[in-house]
């Protein structure tokens, strides 16, 4: 076999990846070192690390970063917890119509993020929202709450919508992993007299650990980069209280038309994602996980 042949065969894939992934990434990296405002496209000098310096002094950047941490942390924690619980319940019970029930439960994952955002924005609406109506009828509150118009509840409202949406992702993935665990392991544990908690800790969790690590990692990165839901529900407001880093990049690029600074923010977003990924894989000792 000719030595060059494997490279020749791989070259179309490399070209596609290079053209559609690395070229845009390299362009963004280059733009982050340039002054590049769309309103002044003929004046785009290289300005070194100025954007990165400005970012460190940019209060909006730090606020957006903190909001991103809250947004990702709370969303993933609750989505995972409730999703895992749902998967275990589905896996351990059997009843008539379970297939239909599963299909209904998994529906949110099939709905567009925009629709979910619109739906929740209406549900949480300060004047006509069903949530306010239910809370008033049940006597829990006597004044309507503007969930999306208060700085202390806007981000949490978006997190709530995101949790509802993402539970099913974890449920689907973990349910599939749970079903792949050989029944013999549970039978052996049963014969050894293990309690339910011991079975969960020593059999279930280790056997689905690789799925847990991958899904939590993927979901964290997706949510970190996901701006649609917040954009539709609050547009990052009021007064930036629900503005995340991904949304800040969008606003700088497409509302502020400052592509240079937005690119620098985008690079920071990518670097933070990479650092998080490396740290997460190390902490969870992914390489030691069982592959089901």
């Amino acid at each position: 076999m000719n030595k060059a042949e494997p490279y020749l065969l791989l070259s179309p894939a490399y070209l596609l990846i290079g053209g559609f992934m690395f070229y845009p990434m390299a362009t963004v990296l280059l733009l982050s070192f340039q002054q590049y405002q769309l309103m002044d496209p003929l004046n785009t000098p290289f300005i070194g690390l100025s954007h990165y310096g400005a970012m460190l002094e940019d209060a909006y950047f730090w606020r957006s970063l903190w909001n991103s941490i809250v947004w990702v942390g709370l969303s993933v924690f609750c989505q995972f917890g409730l999703g895992f619980l749902l998967a275990i319940l589905l896996n351990s019970t059997s009843f008539w119509g379970k297939g239909i029930y599963q299909a209904i439960v998994f529906t949110p994952w099939a709905i567009s993020g925009f629709l979910i955002a619109i739906m929740w924005a209406w549900m949480l609406n300060g004047e006509f929202g069903v949530v306010n109506d239910l809370l008033i009828r049940s006597g829990l509150i006597d004044q309507k709450i503007g969930f999306l118009s208060r700085s202390d509840t806007a981000l949490l409202s978006c997190v709530l919508a995101n949790i509802w949406f993402g539970i099913t992702f974890f449920a689907i993935m973990l349910y599939a992993a749970l079903q792949a665990i050989p029944p013999s392991l549970y039978e052996a544990a049963d014969m050894d007299g293990a309690s339910s908690w011991q079975v969960f800790k020593a059999v279930t969790v280790p056997m689905v650990k690789s799925t847990i690590v991958v899904t939590v990692l993927l979901r964290s990165i997706w949510i970190f980069n996901w701006a649609d839901l917040i954009w539709v529900m609050t547009k990052g407001g009021p007064a930036g209280s629900s503005q995340t880093l991904a949304l800040y990049v969008f606003q700088k690029a497409f509302l502020g038309l400052d592509f240079g600074y937005a690119s620098a923010l985008g690079v920071a977003l990518t670097v933070l994602s990479l650092i998080f990924t490396a740290a997460f894989l190390r902490v969870t000792r992914f390489h030691e996980a069982e592959v089901v």
Binding site: T27, L30, L31, Q34, Q37, L38, M39, D40, P41, L42, T44, P45, F46, N125, G126, E127, F128, K144, G146, L148, S149, R150, S151, T234, K235, G237, P238, A239, G240, Q251, K252, F254, L255, G256, L257, D258
Partner: protein, 448 residues
Amino acid sequence: MSSFGDTAMSRRHMLKVAGGSVLGASLFGCSSTRDVKPLTIVSAMGDVKDRSIARLCEQYVEANPGTAVEFVQLPWDQAHAKILTMIAGGTPPDLLYLTGQWVSELRAMNALEDLTRWHKDWEHKDIFTPIAIQRCESSAAIDGESVFGLPQEVTAKAMFYHKQRLEELGMEPASTREEWRALLEAMTDASRDRFGYALRGARGGLWSWWPIVEEFSGTNHWFDGDNQCIINGPDHVAGLSYWNDLYQDGLSPPDSINWGYTELVQGFWSGLCGSMEQDNEVVATCLEHGMDETTLLTAPMPSGPKARVTTADIWILTMAASTPDKDAAWSLYSWLMSPEQLGTYARSTGTIPSYTAGLDDPALNSGFYKPFADMVSEPGSLANWYPSYLPEMGEFIEVTVTEEQQKMLLKQQSPQETLDKLAKFLNRAQKRYVDKNGPDVPGPPAPA
């Protein structure tokens, strides 16, 4: 330097692809003469108006065999960025409809063609109304003897009311801000989900409160003779406080802090709010949503303590400087801007005509549209104005103002602190502009 040139080229190429895809996204085929390179024309004036222009383009092609026109409709929210992307990428359309606020920045990019050589001998060059010409001048579309664009239509703001709500209260449309405030208080009943005013607390809020600030301060200037921002003076603060108090006193829905254009118009026609200030084109939106002569009333804007402000803007037709066949582009341009076509357009869209004879047309100067026509022809009113020549204005209106006004509405800062921060932003932007272009900066138009 060579590496800079190379990167500029590659990026330009990328923008070309992006610009090309924008063009391809929403083409209206006005014609399909295969062997002729079509002229492209871009508009983001809104669905009804864009359809009217598309129909006119079809008529042009029918009347001029051998020509072809492609009409591109852009969504308003994205139009500014998309037009800039097309130009930066080197693929601008031949003709562009621009708002008055976009002209100077495109001129600064050398993107617009000077039309003077055709215009000076054009038979219809004197047909336009004084206010339309004045707005062309203030937006730099007409610059001394040079002409870079001519007015398609004038848009003006007036007050929209729920007629039944006024009749229930036995009240008339307000003529002063004091009366208007009393009217809003009478209209508001939060327990029944009824509020007086559809407040624009999010994107574009400046367009609502800046005219009020002008009414209270009596000036439409943003900077003094030394190029120092003056928008945080006591009278300006009084104007912004007036607007802020409408929200703090519960005359607008709490959720209106997150309202942009769509939500506030929806908040009005749905009956949640009894009044709003909006452009004439929103009349059509209200009618589409079931309002009619019995439920909708339009009236001139109330006046403030120091001035009545006319908020009028224009849509201007311009030609891209890079158009290959300029004479062919002028042929379409001059046809579209002739009185016959402007009249057809104004009648089919219910807009305020930009040509003098059009104002005499009873169909265009009656009913819901009369207050708008009255607003633009009222003598002695103060013309609302924004320093659109500043490149940072997009970020200022879209991001900075939204953030700071919301902090104010949330009581995190006072109107004074809000205007101080905005003035600081504008001082920085003005300094950059002056450093680059010299101390002679564009100013607001002279009184009509």
